[in-house]
């Protein structure tokens, strides 16, 4: 059968949808699932410490661990003290009236609108997490959608036994709600508001026509890519005609050149580059965030980074300092610029607005994710007892999650970033052993042991500095350094071609991680990240407001 226009368009579109958008390599469901798992490990500790029911296999495994690690007794007791404090956090959830179309949910609610059964005079935002009746997905509260209630939710593997129940009845959804907030930084579109030097000039119709008439086939190709990949870069291609169907649009006129914001750019601030920092150019931070010029495990950008760089340079894309929140929030000076901060971590060197705005994005060192974590931590403390507290706790949780991904720890948008993260999302349940009792218990005990190690990291820091704070920046950078070291020991995890392949063959690129060796490193790093989240959640409940 000959291919009709629709079929061809669909194939064409498959290319668009597979574009890597490396600046925003979001894996929000993984962030949520990591935090939910971490909370359940605390629950397991709580129940174990209090002698409450759980599966025999899990109890036996925790008992064995405790015998060989006597310090775990205190760890479990601390978990027992921490979990209730997390359960009484206010949810912070917005009330999303989006109707549900699932027959099961409609039956449950008695209608299409989610029924939270809030106590009289209580808002969903302020209700305690322990009183939440439903688990939400990362889509909840974000625009018109099918109602984002996670109707098939259940805790992972053996962790079901520490949080038994069923939807909307008896389960504790604190983990899912904290996870919702751990994923939320990926939606902070105000973090990086950008502007295009060139865009408005080229919006002039005469200019558009002139350029449109003169573009070569090669330019057309990159324009087409650029527009889908990074909308401001449509500047290079005012008129795009896709042969099949002859569909043409002038997209540029609708773009506001001075205030470009998109979820595509949010991830710019979600890196911390742990490899050795060269003397020149002078770093903004001892461990800077993303810097495209030296992205990657060896500081040599791959072709994906080249692609992003050339698109951003052609578009003349800069930070709009007046509107972007990241340079203000995540510069994070706790004391003097460039000096040791009040958290005993060296501060960033503060930059002027023009220093932020003058270079195009690829030639600018962006903020580091440990600073994003510290911002959230400080805000959570400042808003203790309010709905904002839980939301801001999501920032450090998100940062820990990102720090457990090799590409985030070497500042790489390429080198297999998206394929790696997609792969983890696809096989998350397998990595944490959800499908088998033995595998699940193994994952849980590994997380416990590693969380104990991260807990000791925090306790040692507290003892050294005589404080009950959480060393958020030290913790995130230590997790990232652990990630980098382990990734360097398994260098195949950095796949220079995978990200560029991903643009045209998402599944093929992701399949490069579909083998036992890659699954082993993914599992190792994922469990490490979850463990660090356990230690953070446990410790943050001990911080005085």
């Amino acid at each position: 059968m000959p291919r009709g226009p629709s079929r061809v368009l669909a194939l064409v579109l498959a290319g668009l949808l597979a574009l890597p958008l490396p600046a925003h390599a979001h894996n929000e469901p993984v962030h949520q699932a990591m935090t939910d798992f971490a909370y359940h490990v605390l629950l397991a500790g709580e129940r174990f410490s209090q002698g409450r029911s759980m599966s025999a296999r899990l109890r036996s495994a925790l008992s064995s661990l405790e015998k060989t690690n006597p310090g775990l007794t205190a760890f479990f007791a601390d978990a027992a003290a921490a979990a209730p404090k997390l359960r009484v956090l206010q949810s912070g959830l917005p009330l999303d009236p989006t109707p549900c179309i699932s027959p099961a949910l409609v039956a449950l609610f008695g209608g299409p609108v989610p029924d939270w059964q809030l106590p009289s005079g209580t808002s969903l935002e302020s209700v305690r997490m322990r009183s939440l009746r439903l688990p939400v997905t990362v889509h909840y509260g974000h625009g018109p959608a099918v109602c984002a209630i996670a109707e098939t939710y259940a805790p992972s593997g053996e962790l079901k036994s520490v949080n038994p129940g069923s939807l909307a009845l008896t389960r504790d959804y604190t983990g899912m709600t904290l996870g919702y907030w751990a994923a939320a930084p990926d939606k902070e579109t105000q973090d990086w508001v950008l502007r295009s030097t060139t865009l408005e000039a080229l919006q002039n119709p005469v200019v558009l026509g002139a350029i449109g008439a003169s573009v070569t086939a090669a330019v057309s190709a990159v324009c087409v890519l650029a527009c889908g990949f990074f909308p401001p870069a449509c500047v290079a291609c005012p008129f795009v005609a896709v042969g099949a169907g002859g569909i043409v649009i002038d997209e540029i006129a609708s773009i506001e050149a001075d205030s470009l914001e998109s979820q595509d750019y949010v991830g710019f601030g979600h890196f911390v580059d742990m490899k050795a920092t060269p003397a020149s150019p002078a770093p903004f931070d001892t461990k800077p965030g993303k810097f495209m010029e030296r992205a990657g495990p060896g500081g040599v950008p791959d072709t994906t980074e080249d692609l992003v760089t050339l698109l951003l340079d052609i578009g003349g894309i800069h930070v709009n300092h007046a509107e972007a929140q990241a340079p203000k929030n995540y510069q994070t000076i706790l004391g003097t610029s460039g000096a040791i901060g009040s958290d005993f971590h060296r501060n960033s060197t503060a930059r002027s607005p023009s220093a932020w705005e003058s270079p195009t994005i690829p030639h600018l060192q962006l903020t580091a994710v440990d600073n994003l974590a510290m911002f959230g931590y400080q805000e959570a403390k400042a808003n203790k007892g309010t709905p904002l507290e839980a939301k801001r706790l999501g920032w450090p949780l998100h940062a820990i999650g990102d720090a457990s991904v090799p590409m985030h720890a070497v500042g790489a948008s390429g080198y297999g970033h998206r394929p790696y993260e997609d792969s983890v999302e696809m096989v998350f349940d397998n990595l944490v052993g959800s499908g088998s009792t033995a595998a699940s218990v193994s994952a849980i005990t590994q997380v416990v042991l590693r969380a104990f190690k991260w807990r000791k990291f925090i306790q040692d820091w507290r003892a050294l500095h005589g404080t009950t704070e959480v060393p958020v920046r030290d913790l995130v950078t230590a997790v990232a350094e652990n990630t980098r070291v382990k990734a360097n020991a398994a260098p195949a995890v950095f796949k220079a071609s995978a990200s560029i392949v991903y643009i045209v063959d998402e599944d093929g690129a992701t399949a490069a991680y579909d083998n036992p060796a890659m699954a082993a490193i993914q599992r190792d790093l994922l469990l490490e990240g979850i463990a660090a989240e356990v230690a953070f959640l446990l410790s943050v409940t001990e911080v005085a407001p």
Binding site: M1, A145, V219, C227, D258, G316, S358
Partner: protein, 351 residues
């Protein structure tokens, strides 16, 4: 075009009072001008955005009146540097603007194929290195403003090779440096160009004012009749995404993760993942609430992804996790639906 000419356009900019770049385009290149008079001047600063808008407008006028795009871009970048930081010295604004314009030109040259990847990378690194050095060297910055005929960021006063090709990296004396051939870079260039050549996107003017797309929910899959085509095969039912303007077709991207019914069976991979896209026009149903897309069995030729999915269904992966998202011609993409895990509908999914 030489940097001297750009400086002269900057003079006209400095004269201000509505004198556009285009109006001064015919200024003789040889006309001498003092360093001070070459200084680009920031337009009235009613905020950086307004300043930039004025600068862009002047650049557009200039381009419209047959100045080269490159020339207009350079002037725009210099003006933009001042809009961002009105306290910049003329020499610093000239430097920052020139580097940004050079980076854009290097990128464009690579895209159109007149510069290799190796040359692009070398040129990029050269500009960044010189920018860092010149920002710390006011005397050289001023010298650069007085003259840099070949635009290599080495002032004419010390440039031993004044005819360096545009964008070529140089040493400190201004002489081009050799870019060593590299098999790796050549391979990467082939890879990158193939990607650029193969990528396409889709725009549809009817979608211009489209509201945000709802998330389409996967409902059920199973064998069934495909009445519109007279085939039988596997059908996938999805909650319909509506609310789009007339003519703005919705596309559904479906991601399927097939789960091995017999774990450990060496004949089948433990999981198979496939992504397909269907357009609303391929809907086998005329129903306001649902769309049904079909994978016909039999000899019909399908796209590679659809063929993989059909084969997987046929090879008895009896369970599949799947999710869906929607996209339209305004480059809007909905979030993915949650994955749902299902076996085939017991009564089939006829359309």
């Amino acid at each position: 075009m030489t940097r001297r000419m750009v400086a002269l356009t900057a003079v006209s900019c400095a004269l201000g009072a509505g004198l556009s770049l285009a109006q001064t385009a015919s200024a003789p290149a040889e006309q001498p001008a003092s360093a001070a008079s070459r200084a680009p001047t920031a337009p009235a600063r009613t905020g950086a955005d307004a300043c930039l808008a004025q600068a862009r407008s002047r650049a557009a006028d200039a381009f419209q009146k047959h100045r080269s795009q490159e020339q207009a871009r350079l002037q725009l970048e210099i003006d933009a540097a001042l809009c961002v930081d009105p306290t910049l010295s003329p020499a610093s604004a000239n430097l920052v603007g020139t580097v940004n314009a050079d980076l854009a030109r290097l990128a464009r040259d690579f895209v159109v194929g007149t510069r290799s990847l190796a040359a692009y990378r070398a040129g990029r690194a050269d500009r960044q290195k010189k920018l860092a050095a010149l920002l710390g060297d006011p005397a050289q910055r001023d010298a650069l403003l007085r003259g840099d005929e070949d635009g290599d960021l080495v002032p004419d006063s010390i440039d031993k090779c004044p005819k360096t090709p545009a964008g070529a990296p140089t040493d400190a004396r201004g002489c081009p440096v050799r870019i060593p051939p590299s098999a790796t870079t050549e391979r990467e260039e082939r890879e990158l160009r193939a990607t650029l050549a193969g990528a396409r996107t889709l725009f549809n003017a009817s979608c211009k004012d489209a509201p945000p797309l709802a998330i389409p929910a996967p409902l059920q899959w199973g064998r069934g009749q495909q009445t519109k085509t007279g085939q039988t095969g596997f059908n996938l039912a999805i909650a319909k995404v509506g609310g789009q303007p007339p003519g703005c077709e919705v596309f559904y991207e479906i991601q399927l993760r097939f789960i091995d019914p017999n774990p450990g069976n060496p004949a089948l991979p433990p999981a198979k993942i496939v992504t397909m896209v269907f357009s609303a026009s391929e809907d086998l149903l005329s129903d306001p609430a649902r769309v049904i897309f079909g994978l016909p069995v039999g000899a019909m030729v399908l796209s590679p992804a659809r063929n993989v999915a059909r084969e997987a269904f046929l090879r008895e992966y009896f369970r599949a996790s799947w999710r869906v998202r929607a996209v339209n011609g305004a480059n809007q993409v909905s979030p993915w639906s949650p994955f749902i895990t299902q076996g085939p509908a017991s009564a089939g999914v006829p359309a």
